[in-house]
Amino acid sequence: MTAIAVVAPMVTRRKKRVPMGIMLCFGFVLVVVLAAFVGPHFLTRTANTPDPFNLGATPTAGHWLGTDELGRDVFARLVIGAYSALIGPFIIALSGLIVSGFVGIAAGYLGGLTDMVTMRVVDFMIALPGLLLTIVLVTVVQGGYWVAVLVLSVLNVQGDIRLVRGATLAQRSLAYVEAARVVGISRFSIMYRHIARNVITILLANCAIDFAGALVALAGLSFLGLGAPPGTPDWGLMLTAGQQILFENPFASLAPGLAVVLLAVSVNLIGDWLYEWQSRVASGR
């Protein structure tokens, strides 16, 4: 008996490590997520307890970021506000992911009338001034945060659909799709099992960028008093309120502002990095 040694070819794969900057971005996002979900349990003071002797005070050991115009602790409000900063953009990005996944792949794969109608609607929506439209609708309907989330979810979807459709068109002519068709796999299965797997990365990258856009848009709506109800610890609301005591305690508005910027930059960078990673994988390097 001869033992046949099968020597697997040594796959030398250079380890693609996540760059330092992207690690920092993930780190910051993690910090915000932790702040939103476990942070409130560790706070020594609540977000709505006023300290009447310290209105608009500068940072001290007791109040790390000082107090706001009603003497409430800015740091505590910042930590608790992380939740409403995350939840709305998350819903908007997720709904974009789901809707554009279904519609975009269908438009790209089926072509014909489905494609034409979809792209007409998408082209129309791209020309709409999304944030301005949201501002007007939320004002007129007097809806608040959740109406804003709903409207932004709808007005965010056009870019995703266009992207997924493009990616699907590129996949459609590849050998595996043809092979699947020849074998007799159903259209539904080709679209939502096989093609979906190949376009999901680029879609995720785009959703990260959607998330950042939604974060900025929702903060803007809250800033105008159209998002979170007055009195809730929300970064956009804190910015408006803090603007009035810019002389006394600048951190009351600068800290939430910086939080929005850092979160948006981090998520945007993560999205860009995912794009690049995807195109490297696609080009087989």
Binding site: I126, A127, L128, P129, L131, L132, I135, V136, T139, V140, V141, Q142, A212, V216, A219, G220, F223, L224, G225, L226, L239, G242, Q243, L246, F247, P250, S253, L254, G257, L258, V260, V261, A264, V265, V267, N268, L269, D272
Partner: protein, 321 residues
Amino acid sequence: MRRAQGLRAYAVRRLLLLVPLVFLISIVVFLLVHMVPGGPVAALIGEHATNTATIDAIRARYHLNASLPSQYGAWVTQVVHGNLGTSIFTSQSVASEIRQRLPVSVVLNAIGLALALLIGVPLGSLAAARRGGRLDRMAVGLAIFLSSTPNFVMAIALLYLLCIRVTIFPLGGLGSGFVDEAFHLILPGIVMCIGPLGFVTKITRASMLEQREADYVAFARARGISRHRIYRGYVLRNALIPLLTASGLIIVSALTATVFVEDVFGIPGLGGLLVTSIENTDIPVIQGLVLLIAIWVVLVNVAVDLCYVSIDPRVTFRGMR
């Protein structure tokens, strides 16, 4: 010759398409009053609609007892004659409020867009020319930072740094006299440009990189044309086409920025007017502004498309060979 004809036919078609679009917009704007919880009466006189005589007067004045189409007819006739109704809050006519505040906003938008183009295009092309270099990485980083910084955050930060910490610029408002007004508009103008600037830089860089690889560049190099001339004469001109197609989005983003910038700096423009009318739920003013903004956006999009097809000779029209 054929192309000029095709172009004219296309322009006429696009302009004719404006008619149904404006009609659609006017219907939506008209219906805004009916979308307010509590109905049109609440929208038109605020929330204190308790006096039946007042309510009846309002219903009669705005033809609210008539059918919806005839209400629309009456409203459109007024609008076409330049009467956009009166503000609930100030009792002034909406048209005159808008007319008073329009110039500042136009100036502010122009400053923002001009700055974005003047800085963004050179920065984007330099970054592309030195791909992977330090300048390139800085430009890319700056573009990402600027496009993810909300303009109201930037406005407040600059207000704090340059008006409170170091008192270089005035705190807000508009001042009086030309020089003073111009001085008051410097900082808001800078903030106006940040969103568009990130966008312009990103697009210019990406399309320069794409054009650089084009065959005509290699050919021009082979013919011995200097690199400088290729860039200035061919690459940049081709690279600006994506910028033109995106300019609709850029102009709209500047428009959105107006609302926040004017709010933070207390500038009495259209953005400021929108914010006050939001705070007071002043529906007639909101209707007037929405009508104005919608028509502006539509016109910008048509103008961009027309510019695009007339500049790019590769665009052909149906029926033209």
